[in-house]
C-alpha cells in the first residue's frame, strides 16, 4: 500500500472511531436506538473480530487451509484460548501463546517452513 493510501486509511479509521464513540455523545439525548438494532449490534463486534483472526489461525503462508495440529499458529491459538478461559488475563495469554508459537517455530518440529 502506498504511503498516501496509508495516511488516508489512518484518517478514515479516525472517522470510524469518532462516529461510533462520539456521535451519540453529541446528539444522543435526542436519539434512542431501536431495540431491534441494539440486538443486532450486540453480535457485530464478536463476529467481526472472529472473522479477522480466524484466517490467521487456520490458513498457511500460501493461503491454504491448515486445520491439523501441525499448524503452529492454530496450536498456539488453541493453547492461548484455553489459557484465557482459565485465567482471564490478556497479557499472560499473549505471553503463553507467543511462547508456544515461538518454540514450535524455532524448533521446527513440524517442518513446515514458517
Amino acid at each position: 500500500m502506498a504511503d498516501w493510501d496509508i495516511w488516508t486509511v489512518i484518517a478514515v479509521l479516525g472517522v470510524a472511531t469518532a462516529s461510533t464513540r462520539s456521535a451519540l455523545w453529541m446528539v444522543g439525548h435526542r436519539v434512542t436506538i431501536p431495540r431491534r438494532v441494539q440486538e443486532m449490534l450486540r453480535f457485530a463486534p464478536a463476529c467481526a473480530l472472529a472473522a479477522i483472526v480466524a484466517p490467521d489461525f487456520m490458513l498457511g503462508p500460501q493461503g491454504d487451509i491448515q486445520l491439523a495440529v501441525t499448524n503452529p499458529k492454530l496450536l498456539a491459538g488453541i493453547v492461548a484460548l484455553a489459557y484465557y478461559l482459565w485465567r482471564r488475563n490478556m497479557l499472560q495469554t499473549i505471553v503463553v501463546g507467543m511462547l508456544v508459537f515461538t518454540v514450535l517455530r524455532v524448533s521446527d518440529v513440524f517442518h513446515n517452513g514458517l
Binding site: 479516525g14 473480530l49 472472529a50 483472526v53
Partner: protein, 251 residues
C-alpha cells in the same frame, strides 16, 4: 434582572461540572489496576503496527488519531493485504459498533456539557472505563464530582495506552521480522473476542463467521471478511429468535 435570572443556573452548572479533586482521585484509583494491562495491550498494538509495515510516524499518527486497539489491530492485516479503503473503514466501523451501545449508556450523564467536550470525552472513552464509570454512577442525573471522576478514569487510561503504544512502536522496529510479533496482535484480539461471546447465539455467530472468513478468504478486496461478518450476525440473530420462540412455545 436578566443577569440575576441567569446566574443561579450558571452557578449550578459550574457546581456540577467544576473540578472536584477528591472525585478525580477516586476515579484514578478505581482505574489504576487496569492501567498496566492497558499499557501492555498498547505495546502489543504498537509492535503489531510497525511489524505490518507502517513507518514509525504513521504508527504514531494512527494511535493518536484512532485510539481504538481492536480497530487498529483489525485494520493491520487489511492494510498489509492492500484492501480498499472502503473495506477497511467498514471493518473498523463494525468492530467499533459496541461503542455505540456503550456511548448510549454513558452520554446521557453528560448531555449538559459543551459540544466539543462531549466529542472528545466520547472519543477517549473505552470498554473498561465505561464499565467502571457505570458501576460507580448507575443513575444519569447530574451529580457533583461525576465529571471529575470520569476524567480521573479517562485521562490516565489515555496516557497509559499512548505510552505503551509508543514503547511498542520503538520496540517493534528493533525486533527481527521472523519473530512474527504481529501474531501477538492476533492473540490480543482473541482475548477481546471471548468476553463478547455473551450467549449461545453469539457463539454460533462467531463460529459461522470464522468458518466463512476462512472459506471466503480468496475473495477480492478482502470482501470475504465482510461476508463472514454478515453471515455470522444473521446466524446469531436467527439462532436467538428460534430459541426465543421455542421458549415461548414451551412456556
Amino acid at each position: 434582572m436578566n443577569g440575576a435570572r441567569l446566574d443561579p443556573g450558571m452557578e449550578r452548572g459550574n457546581d456540577v461540572d467544576g473540578h472536584d479533586p477528591a472525585a478525580w482521585r477516586e476515579g484514578f484509583q478505581v482505574g489504576l489496576p487496569t492501567l498496566f494491562g492497558l499499557g501492555a495491550w498498547g505495546m502489543v498494538v504498537g509492535v503489531a503496527m510497525v511489524k505490518s509495515g507502517l513507518t514509525v510516524l504513521q504508527a504514531s499518527a494512527m494511535t493518536l488519531v484512532v485510539y481504538s486497539g481492536s480497530a487498529q489491530l483489525a485494520s493491520l492485516p487489511l492494510i498489509a493485504a492492500g484492501a480498499p479503503v472502503g473495506v477497511i473503514f467498514a471493518t473498523a466501523f463494525v468492530v467499533n459498533l459496541r461503542f455505540v451501545i456503550f456511548s448510549a449508556l454513558l452520554a446521557p450523564h453528560f448531555s449538559q456539557l459543551p459540544l466539543f467536550q462531549r466529542f472528545y470525552l466520547g472519543h477517549i472513552s473505552g470498554d473498561l472505563t465505561t464499565a467502571l464509570f457505570l458501576q460507580r454512577y448507575p443513575r444519569t442525573a447530574p451529580e457533583r464530582g461525576k465529571l471529575s471522576f470520569l476524567k480521573g478514569l479517562l485521562y490516565p487510561s489515555w496516557v497509559a495506552w499512548q505510552v505503551g503504544t509508543f514503547v511498542g512502536i520503538f520496540l517493534g522496529s528493533a525486533v527481527p521480522t521472523e519473530w512474527q510479533l504481529g501474531f501477538a496482535g492476533t492473540l490480543a484480539i482473541l482475548c477481546i473476542l471471548v468476553p463478547l461471546i455473551i450467549n449461545g447465539a453469539a457463539l454460533c455467530g462467531v463460529l459461522v463467521a470464522s468458518i466463512v472468513s476462512v472459506l471466503a478468504h480468496g475473495l477480492p478486496y478482502k470482501l470475504g471478511l465482510l461476508v463472514a461478518v454478515l453471515v455470522g450476525m444473521v446466524t446469531a440473530i436467527v439462532v436467538e429468535e428460534t430459541r426465543g420462540r421455542r421458549k415461548v412455545g414451551h412456556g
